[in-house]
C-alpha cells in the first residue's frame, strides 16, 4: 500500500498500517455486515459477468442457427439474473453504506464523549472550530475509506480478474491478444489521475484564494472606498480570478484527453478482436457469439481500473483524518477523580484556600499565596481590577484547573481527593456571560438533571424570573434562539440564577455581570441574589455595590495577592485600594450614572 503512495506526498508515514489496524477495530461490532457485504460484492461481480456470456449462448445456439425454441427461456433467465443482480446491488450498497454510517456514529459518539472528559484548560489551547472538525469532517473522510475504499477495491479487483478468467476460458489466445491493451488502460488512467489531481489541487488553491480575497476585501470595502482604491482592487481581483479560470482550463485538458483516449483504447481492443478473432471465426476456431461476447467484455475493462487508481487518494485523506482523530482521543484528561475518592460530608463544612498559587502557563503566577476560609452560610466577596485574578479563584474552586502550589480543602479534605462529580454537584456557578444552550427556557434551567417542572417553576419564581418567562410566547417552553440573542443580559442572568436555584447547591459561586443592566431588572437581580444566598455559603465576584455591602467579608485582590480584607465600612475607612475601586466602579451605580468606565473594566 505504501509503495503505491503518490510521490508528491513526501511525508511517508511508516505507521499507516498501525492506523489502519486501529481503524479496523471500529468494524468489529459489524463484522457480520462487513462479511455479508464482501459476499454480496463477489456475487455481484459474478452476476455482472453473465450478461455477455448469455449473449454468446443466444447467438451461437439460437440466433445464428435460427433455432428460436430456446431463446425465450434464455431471455427470461437473463431477466432473472438482472433481477437478482438488482437486489444484490442494492443490498450491497445499503449494507455497506449503513455500516459506514454506524461506524461514523460510534466514532462521533466516542469523540464527543472524550471531549466531555477533557479538562477545561485543553480548550484554551485548542480552537473550538478545529475540534468541531474532528467530530464532523474528519469522521466523514474515514467513512469514505470504509464505504468506497476497502470493500470496493476488493470488488474492482474481483470483477477485473473475473472478466479475465471468463475470457481465458472462452479462448486463451484471443484473451491474451485482448489483454495486451490492459497496460495501456492502466497507463492512461494513471496519467489522467496524476494530472487531474494536480490540476484539481491547483483549482482548489485558486478557489481558496478567490474566497480569501473576497472575504478580506468585502470586510474592508469601506477602507478600499475611503482610499479610492476601487480600480486597483478590481485589477488585483482580476488576477486571482484569471488564475482560477486558467487553472480550470488546464483541468479541462486532462478530461478532454482522457475520455477520447479511453475510447480509442477500447476501439483498438475491438479492432484486435476483429482482426484476430475474425480470422479464428473464419477457420471455425471461434464462434460468432464468443466474438460478440469478447467485444462486450473488452468494454468493461476500464471501469475497475479507473476506480482502483482513485482509491489511493481516498485512502490518503482517510489516513490523515484518522491520525488527527486518534491524536485527540489519545489526549489524556488532566483533571479526573482519584480512583478511590473520599466521601463528601453529609452537612455543609468550611472551605479553605491554603497558600494557593496558580499559573496558567506554568511560569507566571496569576494567584500568589492566596488564603481564606468560607464558613457555612457566609458570603465572601472578591473585588479587584481587571486581571487581578478574581475569576481564577472560581476556576480553581470548580476544579477547572488544579492549584499549582498550596491546597484547597473542604471539611479538611483536599479537593483533589474528593469525587469530582460529587464535588461539582455541591456547587452552583453563575458566570459573567450566562451561557444558554439551544433548547427551551425550561431545559436551560433544568439542564440534563432530573428536575421536575414544578421545581423548575418554583426556582424561577424564587429568583423573580417567573414573571418575565410567562410573558414569552410559549412561557417555559419558549425556544432559546442563538444562545439567547433575543433575551437581555439581565434576563439571561435571571435564568442562570434559576438554574443555580433549581440545582440547590451547598455553595453558590457567582461572577457578576459587568454590563449595565436596566434599573428595574437590577433590583430584581439583587433581591434574587439574597434569596439564592439564603442558608448557603456564597463566593461572589462583585461588581455591584449592594452585593458587597452586606457581604460577611470583602477580599481585595490586586495583581494576584489579597491586599485588603474586611467589611465594607472598615475598608472604606482605610482609604486604600478598595476605596479607589469603590470610587471608580461602584459609585456610578449609586448615582445612577451608567458609565463607560464600568464597561471598559471588561470581563476578566
Amino acid at each position: 500500500m505504501s509503495a503505491a503512495r503518490p510521490d508528491d506526498d513526501p511525508t511517508g508515514h511508516s505507521y499507516d498500517w498501525a492506523l489502519l489496524r486501529r481503524l479496523l477495530v471500529y468494524l468489529r461490532p459489524y463484522r457480520g455486515a462487513v462479511a455479508l457485504s464482501f459476499l454480496l460484492i463477489i456475487v455481484l461481480s459474478g452476476l455482472d459477468l453473465t450478461g455477455p456470456y448469455l449473449t454468446k449462448i443466444a447467438i451461437d445456439r439460437h440466433i445464428a442457427h435460427g433455432n428460436l425454441a430456446g431463446l425465450t427461456p434464455l431471455a427470461l433467465l437473463f431477466v432473472g439474473v438482472l433481477c437478482v443482480a438488482f437486489v444484490v446491488r442494492f443490498g450491497q450498497a445499503y449494507v455497506l453504506q449503513m455500516t459506514g454510517q454506524r461506524v461514523m456514529r460510534d466514532m462521533r459518539g466516542q469523540i464527543f464523549g472524550h471531549l466531555q472528559r477533557l479538562h477545561v484548560g485543553y480548550f484554551d489551547r485548542n480552537p473550538v472550530g478545529r475540534l468541531v472538525t474532528r467530530a464532523t469532517t474528519d469522521v466523514d473522510a474515514i467513512n469514505e475509506l470504509f464505504t468506497s475504499g476497502l470493500v470496493t477495491v476488493f470488488g474492482d479487483l474481483f470483477s477485473l480478474f473475473g472478466i479475465m478468467a471468463v475470457m481465458l476460458a472462452m479462448n486463451v489466445r484471443l484473451a491474451l491478444v485482448t489483454f495486451s491493451v490492459i497496460p495501456f488502460f492502466f497507463a492512461v488512467t494513471i496519467w489522467f489521475r496524476r494530472g487531474a489531481r494536480t490540476s484539481f489541487r491547483e483549482v482548489r488553491r485558486w478557489l481558496a484564494r478567490i474566497s480569501a480575497f473576497l472575504q478580506e476585501h468585502l470586510s474592508g470595502m469601506s477602507v478600499v472606498q475611503l482610499f479610492g482604491r476601487e480600480e486597483s482592487t478590481q485589477a488585483d481581483f482580476a488576477a486571482v480570478n484569471r488564475g482560477h479560470a486558467d487553472s480550470n482550463l488546464q483541468q479541462i485538458f486532462f478530461y478532454a484527453v482522457f475520455y477520447p483516449a479511453i475510447e480509442l483504447l477500447a476501439a483498438i481492443a475491438i479492432a484486435l478482436i476483429l482482426v484476430y478473432g475474425g480470422g479464428r471465426v473464419f477457420v471455425g476456431a471461434l464462434t460468432i457469439g464468443a466474438l460478440v461476447a469478447f467485444l462486450q467484455y473488452s468494454e468493461r475493462f476500464w471501469r475497475p481500473i479507473s476506480d482502483l487508481s482513485e482509491k489511493f487518494n481516498v485512502l490518503q485523506a482517510a489516513m490523515a483524518a484518522a491520525e488527527r482523530i486518534f491524536l485527540l482521543l489519545d489526549t489524556r484528561p488532566q483533571i479526573e477523580s482519584v480512583s478511590s475518592p473520599r466521601r463528601l460530608p453529609e452537612t455543609s463544612a468550611p472551605l479553605l484556600f491554603e497558600d494557593v498559587s496558580f499559573a496558567y502557563d506554568g511560569s507566571y503566577d496569576v494567584l500568589r499565596q492566596v488564603s481564606f476560609s468560607l464558613e457555612p452560610g457566609r458570603t465572601l466577596a472578591f473585588v479587584g481590577a481587571t486581571g487581578a485574578g478574581k475569576t481564577t479563584i472560581i476556576s480553581l474552586l470548580t476544579r477547572f484547573y488544579d492549584v499549582t502550589r498550596g491546597r484547597i480543602t473542604y471539611d479538611g479534605v483536599d479537593l483533589r481527593d474528593l469525587d469530582l462529580a460529587a464535588w461539582r454537584s455541591s456547587l452552583a456557578i453563575v458566570l459573567q456571560d450566562p451561557h444558554l444552550f439551544s433548547g427551551t427556557i425550561a431545559s436551560n434551567i433544568r439542564l440534563g438533571s432530573d428536575i421536575s417542572d414544578e421545581r423548575v417553576r418554583a426556582a424561577a419564581a424564587a429568583v423573580h424570573a417567573d414573571s418575565f418567562i410567562r410573558t414569552l410566547p410559549h412561557g417555559y417552553e419558549t425556544e432559546v434562539m442563538e444562545r439567547g440573542a433575543t433575551l437581555s443580559v439581565g434576563q439571561k442572568q435571571l435564568i442562570a440564577f434559576a438554574r443555580a436555584m433549581a440545582h440547590d447547591p451547598r455553595i453558590l459561586v457567582l461572577d457578576e455581570a459587568t454590563s449595565s443592566i436596566d434599573t428595574e431588572t437590577e433590583a430584581l437581580i439583587q433581591d434574587a441574589l439574597r434569596v439564592l444566598r439564603h442558608g448557603r455559603s456564597a463566593i461572589v465576584i462583585a461588581h455591584r455595590l449592594s452585593t458587597i455591602r452586606d457581604a460577611d467579608e470583602i477580599l481585595v485582590l490586586h495583581k494576584g495577592r489579597i491586599r485588603e480584607r474586611g467589611r465594607h465600612e472598615e475598608l472604606l475607612a482605610q482609604h486604600g485600594l478598595y476605596w479607589r475601586l469603590y470610587q471608580l466602579q461602584y459609585q456610578d451605580q449609586e448615582h445612577g450614572v451608567a458609565g463607560a468606565a464600568v464597561a471598559s473594566a471588561g470581563p476578566v
Binding site: V79, F86, A212, F227, N241, A428, R580
Partner: protein, 563 residues
C-alpha cells in the same frame, strides 16, 4: 460556442459511424470474408474513433472553456459592483452570503452554461444520429428499445430531485451536529460545573442517531437509483436480444445489424441519463442566477450626483442642524451645529453609542447626510466629486483594517497616483511611531502581515492605519477612536507628533481618553446624538459635566495602575 457545437455534431456523426463498420464486419463474417477486409474494417474503426476523439476533445475544450470565460466575466462584474456598493449595503448583507453568491451560485450558473449545454447538445446530436441509424436497421426494434430509455430519463429526473432534497437534509443535520459540538465546547465550563457531561452526551447521541437516520433515507435513494438505472438499461438490452434474435432468425435483419444495434443502444445510455441530470442542474442554475442578478441589480447608494467643479479641498467643515438616522433605524444624530475652520482640530468624546463614529463617518460620505446639512468649503458635501472629497481625507477607522500584504503595501495603500515611494512610507511610519517596530520585523517594510505573515498587535495595527492615512498628506485628518489599543506612553508620543502634523490640517479626533483630546482647539461632548458640552479642555473641566467626570475617573485609574 458555435464552433464547439459544430465540433459536437461531427463527434456524434463519427461516433455513430464505427458501429456501422462493425455491422458490415460481422455480416461479412457470416458470408464472405477475406483477411484484407478484416484489416480494413479494424483500421476503419480505429480511425473513426480517433477522429471522433479529436473532435470530442475540441468540443470539450471549446464549450467548457467558454463557460469558464463567461464565469470569469460574470465574477468580474459582480466584484466591480461590490466595489461600488455603499457601506450601508454591507451592514444589511452578511459577507458570507455575498461570497456564496460570487462563488457557489456562480458555479451553479456555470454548470448550466458549460456541462449543461454540452450534454444537452450531445444528447440531442447522439439521439438524432443514433436513432436514425437504428431506425435504418429496424424501426420495430427501435420502438421496443426506447421504452426503457424513457424510463431511465424519468428515474434520474424524479430521483435526482429527491436525492438533492434529502442530501440537503443530511447536510442540515451535519450543520446541527457541528453547532452542538461548538455550543458544548463554548459552554464547557457550565457543562463541567453542573456535571452535565452524561446528559450532553445523551443529547449529542440523539442528534447523532438522527443524522444516521437521515443518511439512511438518502442511502436508500442513492443506493436504489444506480441499480435501477443499470437494471433498466440491461432490460433494454435483453429485450433487443430477444426481439432482435427472433428477427435475425427470421432474416428480417442481419446478425451484423443486430450487433450494431446493441452497440447503438449502449451509446444512448449516458445521453439518456444526462437528460434527467441536466434538467436538475438547470433548475438549480436558475435559482442561482436569480441570486446573482439580485446582487448586480442592487442600487449603488452613494455616487456622484451633479458634481460641483471642485478639484481641491481646503478643509472648512460645517454641520448645519444635521440630523441622521440609518435606514429604518432610530435617530442617531440630532440638531448638530458645528463649524470647524480649515486647519483647526476638533475632539469628540461621549459614551458608547452616542453617535461619535457616525458623525465623523459622514465627512467622507461613508453614509450620506440629508441635503444641505453638511458643508465642506461651503459646498454641500453631496455635491463634491466623490474622488476629490475622499482623496483629501485621511481616515483612521476604529477597527484598523489591514490587508494581507506587505507592511509597505498597506501603508502605501493611501496613495495610488503616483505610488508612494519608500521614503514617504518611512516618513509616515515614523510619524505614526511605527518605525521602531518595523526595525524589529524580519524584512522591515517588506514583511508580509496577516494570515500568511506576522501578526501585528492591536496597537501596531492602529499605528499602521494611522501611517496609511498620513501618507496621503490629507487636508482633513479623521481619527475615529483610532488609538484605543495603543499603550499610554506610545500614544503620548504619537500625540506630541500629531500636534505638529495636525498643523494646517482640519483634524477630527474621536476618543475615550482625555489625554488624547485635551490639546484640541475644540472639544465637543456627544450624548444620545446631541452635543451637550463644547469648549476647550480647561473650560470643560470647570463646567463640571461629563467631561470633567471622565477626567477625574481617568486620573484614578492611573493611580490604581501604579499601586
Amino acid at each position: 460556442m458555435a464552433r464547439g457545437l459544430a465540433f459536437l455534431v461531427v463527434t456524434a456523426l463519427l461516433a455513430s459511424a464505427s458501429p456501422w463498420v462493425l455491422r458490415l464486419a460481422v455480416d461479412d463474417l457470416t458470408l464472405t470474408l477475406t483477411r484484407q477486409k478484416l484489416w480494413t474494417y479494424a483500421l476503419a474503426i480505429v480511425a473513426l474513433v480517433a477522429g471522433e476523439g479529436l473532435f470530442r476533445y475540441g468540443t470539450r475544450m471549446t464549450l467548457i472553456g467558454v463557460s469558464r470565460e463567461i464565469e470569469y466575466e460574470l465574477r468580474e462584474d459582480i466584484f466591480r459592483h461590490l466595489c461600488r456598493l455603499a457601506p450601508a449595503y454591507y451592514h444589511t448583507h452578511r459577507i458570507g452570503d455575498l461570497m456564496s453568491r460570487a462563488t457557489n451560485d456562480l458555479a451553479a450558473v456555470r454548470m448550466v452554461l458549460g456541462p449543461g449545454i454540452m450534454y444537452s447538445a450531445n444528447t440531442a446530436a447522439t439521439f438524432v444520429t443514433a436513432l436514425a441509424l437504428m431506425a435504418a436497421i429496424s424501426p420495430r426494434l427501435l420502438a421496443a428499445s426506447l421504452l426503457p430509455l424513457l424510463a431511465v430519463a424519468w428515474l434520474v429526473r424524479r430521483f435526482g430531485r429527491s436525492i438533492h432534497d434529502r442530501s440537503e437534509q443530511v447536510q442540515a443535520q451535519l450543520a446541527h451536529l457541528s453547532a452542538l459540538v461548538q455550543e458544548n465546547l463554548a459552554g464547557a465550563r457550565v457543562v463541567r460545573a453542573y456535571v452535565q457531561e452524561a446528559a450532553e452526551q445523551g443529547h449529542f447521541q440523539t442528534a447523532n442517531e438522527e443524522y444516521m437516520h437521515r443518511s439512511r433515507r438518502l442511502i436508500v435513494l442513492v443506493g436504489g437509483l444506480q441499480p435501477m438505472i443499470i437494471t433498466m438499461l440491461s432490460l433494454g438490452a435483453v429485450l433487443v436480444l430477444w426481439l432482435g434474435g427472433r428477427m435475425v432468425a427470421a432474416h428480417a435483419i442481419t446478425l451484423g445489424g443486430f450487433v450494431a444495434f446493441t452497440v447503438y443502444l449502449g451509446m444512448l445510455h449516458w445521453p439518456t441519463i444526462a437528460i434527467g441530470w441536466v434538467t436538475n442542474i438547470v433548475e438549480r442554475g436558475e435559482a442561482s442566477m436569480g441570486r446573482c442578478l439580485e446582487l448586480l441589480d442592487a442600487p449603488v447608494g452613494i455616487a456622484d450626483s451633479s458634481a460641483a467643479p471642485v478639484s481641491e479641498v481646503q478643509g472648512a467643515v460645517e454641520f448645519r442642524g444635521l440630523s441622521f438616522a440609518y435606514a429604518g433605524g432610530p435617530v442617531v444624530l440630532q440638531g448638530i451645529d458645528l463649524s470647524v475652520p480649515a486647519g483647526t482640530s476638533v475632539a469628540v468624546v461621549g459614551p458608547t453609542g452616542s453617535g461619535k463614529s457616525t458623525l465623523v463617518g459622514l465627512l467622507p460620505r461613508l453614509h450620506d447626510p440629508a441635503p444641505a446639512s453638511l458643508f465642506i468649503d461651503g459646498h454641500d458635501v453631496r455635491d463634491l466629486p466623490l474622488t476629490t472629497l475622499r482623496r483629501s481625507i485621511g481616515y483612521v477607522p476604529q477597527e484598523a483594517f489591514l490587508f494581507s500584504n506587505t507592511l509597505r503595501a498597506n501603508i502605501a495603500f493611501g496613495v495610488l497616483d503616483p505610488p508612494a515611494e519608500l521614503g514617504r512610507v518611512e516618513w509616515s511610519a515614523e510619524a505614526a511611531q511605527l518605525a521602531g517596530d518595523v526595525r524589529e520585523f524580519p524584512d522591515g517594510y517588506e514583511t508580509p502581515i496577516g494570515e500568511r505573515g506576522i501578526t501585528l498587535s492591536g496597537g501596531q495595527k492602529q499605528r499602521a492605519a494611522l501611517a496609511r492615512a498620513l501618507v496621503r498628506d490629507p487636508r482633513i485628518l479623521i481619527l475615529d477612536d483610532a488609538l484605543a489599543a495603543v499603550d499610554a506612553q506610545t500614544e503620548e508620543r504619537i500625540l506630541a507628533n500629531l500636534k505638529a502634523l495636525a498643523l494646517g490640517r482640519t483634524t477630527f479626533i474621536v476618543s475615550h481618553r482625555v489625554s488624547a483630546v485635551r490639546w484640541a482647539d475644540l472639544i465637543v461632548v456627544l450624548r444620545a446624538g446631541r452635543i451637550v458640552e463644547r469648549g476647550r479642555h480647561d473650560e470643560l473641566i470647570l463646567a463640571g459635566g461629563y467631561y470633567a467626570d471622565l477626567h477625574r475617573r481617568q486620573l484614578l485609574e492611573e493611580e490604581m495602575a501604579e499601586a
